[in-house]
Symmetry: C2
Subunit: 369 residues, 2 copies
């Protein structure tokens, strides 16, 4: 059909039909075989808390009922954990969806939004999807350059700025003092989307205190990473209560599934499990650092559950390596733009997955050399 | 904070802060005790297929992985079931979310959208939430008046019209011939959102054949009702493939949870279970009809898993009855506007829930006279 046959908005007509999110299942279908190592989507290789799994299995008994639209019990538990009020939290089906709600609340056609060139593409997808205009700032030394982000936001009068700490896809981070300086420097009437999806893996001194009385920052957290619940779809934002009111004006109130609510609540009480995962991930990162050393590559120090490996060549070379790895059953990803795309990004898998990755990478580098 | 302190869009600023979706858990918290009968949200009282439950329990083993962004296996199964192509299906986290995507794709600030006065409020929530202008058409004899909906859409040049068959909140329906006449009468360049959430309960001759070559209709189905998976959040739309392309341009690609995908796929193969639920629901409706008879009320014949009971008085009376029932632990809902609000709406519960409802309603009617 011609486009004119459909009453789509101008914004939607102008969007590209190709989506940038080719998931591992799609890639497996294309290659006709499952991956030997699924270390590309920063999913947890260390499973879910046994307490959470038991709670989710029990929740299946009442899966005929919609989840609580307020996720009240979970909000109360999170409020106690973070020392904030329940009214300063909004639960959603993962950070992706919550970022979409924030973008929708702040971005109209042509609204400028500032982020780093190469940072989280799903945020960009939302901005473009709501007709916003992305203003990119380059990374600096493989970190998101927060003073430059602020300067650009000022220059183009952007109501919304995206910053992740620790960063994805590079795994780099700032200390709490620097992030606090960024937070303090956001002008009145602007919002900082502070994506802390990987906060659980970061050193304690990388995460500034949470202060929801500050109306200029929205902090995003998730159960998809350290808690190992990516497939359950649940995350949250902490913000000034008036920002939460805005979320509640437009969010899909019954989107969070009941099983995820039960699992998140249980996982939140199983800190021993979480500590274990974080320790395993730290060991896995060290393993990747050693692999890089052995192969003569530079591993970029990471505060996340993945490591970016600098292959020391250009994006075409890294893309060729990524393609070769995928063909051999190793699912990884890589940054989308230069100069970050000299790297490949590998999630901390189980020891055997890391070994498969190391062996395949070594062979691939020898071959493509 | 003053509104001016936040960079929200004009649309979001103008929206009311109060949400119309007070869920049963919230009501329970307010009354300080659980409901004795949860028969208000049209959830299934007959659980989930044992096959689906087993598949979901198994899926918990890989809950650390994101779900397949394409829900490919489920799409293939649905395509085979409905005799359409996989490219004519989009899976989402329930009909609510999918309706939101369709509204977003077609509604800009001020866009007129036509629906029935008293029909599904979540659709209205999305239209208002994207800045659209709702144009209401009254029900006619407790049914959505499709010729009047079409006439109003023509009059105001609405790109989008909402129609549900069977209807919620009245439970009424049209035969396939009438619905097909509606579908055929939608002008080129317009879209009909045909909400068939309750189709599994309807007589076979109420559902017209699915023809995704028609670019003017989007049909919505769900696993939340007969399949008993409301808490898992999974539904789908069937539409022309170019409409699916538009959905894919803006939907949250990783929003569907992995557990729900596995459960839906298994439930789709367990038709014996589904047939059993549908038969149980039919018996439950008959039970409500008999209760109404005994209490001198008019039950409105329903093709869904709920029954609207005409209390024969005005909205204030029905609201008083609803309030009294809730205070006694019976969760029901009712239509929001006159003249539908002379009714209360009760979901088919288990036999014991229906008995609690009947006993409490009888006492309440005696008391309120």
């Amino acid at each position: 059909m011609a486009d004119a046959d459909f009453p789509f908005t101008d914004i939607v007509r102008a969007l590209p039909a190709a989506t940038p999110f080719v998931g591992p299942e799609t890639l497996q279908r294309e290659r006709g075989a499952p991956f030997r190592a699924r270390v590309g989507a920063n999913e947890s290789a260390f499973g879910v808390s046994p307490e959470a799994k038991a709670a989710m299995a029990e929740a299946l008994e009442t899966v005929s009922w919609y989840g609580d639209a307020e996720s009240w019990a979970l909000k109360e538990a999170l409020a106690a954990h973070h020392g904030v009020a329940a009214e300063e939290i909004v639960i959603g089906a993962g950070i992706d969806g919550l970022l979409g709600v924030l973008v929708r609340a702040t971005v109209a056609e042509g609204t400028p939004v500032v982020t780093s060139k190469g940072a989280y593409p799903t945020f960009n997808y939302h901005v473009t999807g709501f007709g916003g205009r992305l203003e990119f700032v380059p990374y600096r030394d493989d970190r998101e350059d927060w003073p430059a982000l602020l300067a650009r936001a000022e220059e183009v009068a952007a109501p919304l700025v995206y910053f992740s700490n620790p960063d994805n896809p590079m795994g780099t981070w700032y200390g709490a003092d620097a992030v606090q300086r960024l937070i303090d420097a956001v002008p009145d009437g602007r919002l900082l989307a502070l994506d802390e999806a990987y906060a659980d893996f970061a050193p304690a001194d990388a995460i500034p205190p949470i202060d929801p009385s500050n109306p200029r920052v929205v902090r995003f957290r998730t159960f998809s990473k350290a808690h190992g619940m990516a497939g359950a779809r649940i995350g949250y934002a902490i913000a000034h209560r008036d920002v939460v009111v805005a979320f509640n004006k437009i969010r899909n109130h019954f989107e969070v599934n009941r099983v995820a609510q039960a699992g998140a609540l249980a996982s939140l009480k199983d800190w021993a499990f979480l500590d274990g995962v974080v320790a395993e991930v730290a060991r896995g990162r060290d393993h990747y650092y050693r692999i890089a050393d052995r192969l003569g590559l530079k591993a970029i120090a990471s505060a996340t559950n993945f490591v970016a490996l600098d292959l020391g060549r250009d994006g075409d070379f890294a893309r060729a390596v990524l393609k070769a790895l995928q063909e051999e059953g190793v699912f990884i990803r890589m940054p989308g733009v230069a100069p970050l795309d000299r790297c490949i990004r590998v999630t901390v898998g189980r020891a055997e997955e890391r070994a498969v990755f190391a062996e395949t990478l070594e062979r691939t580098l020898e071959r493509l050399g």
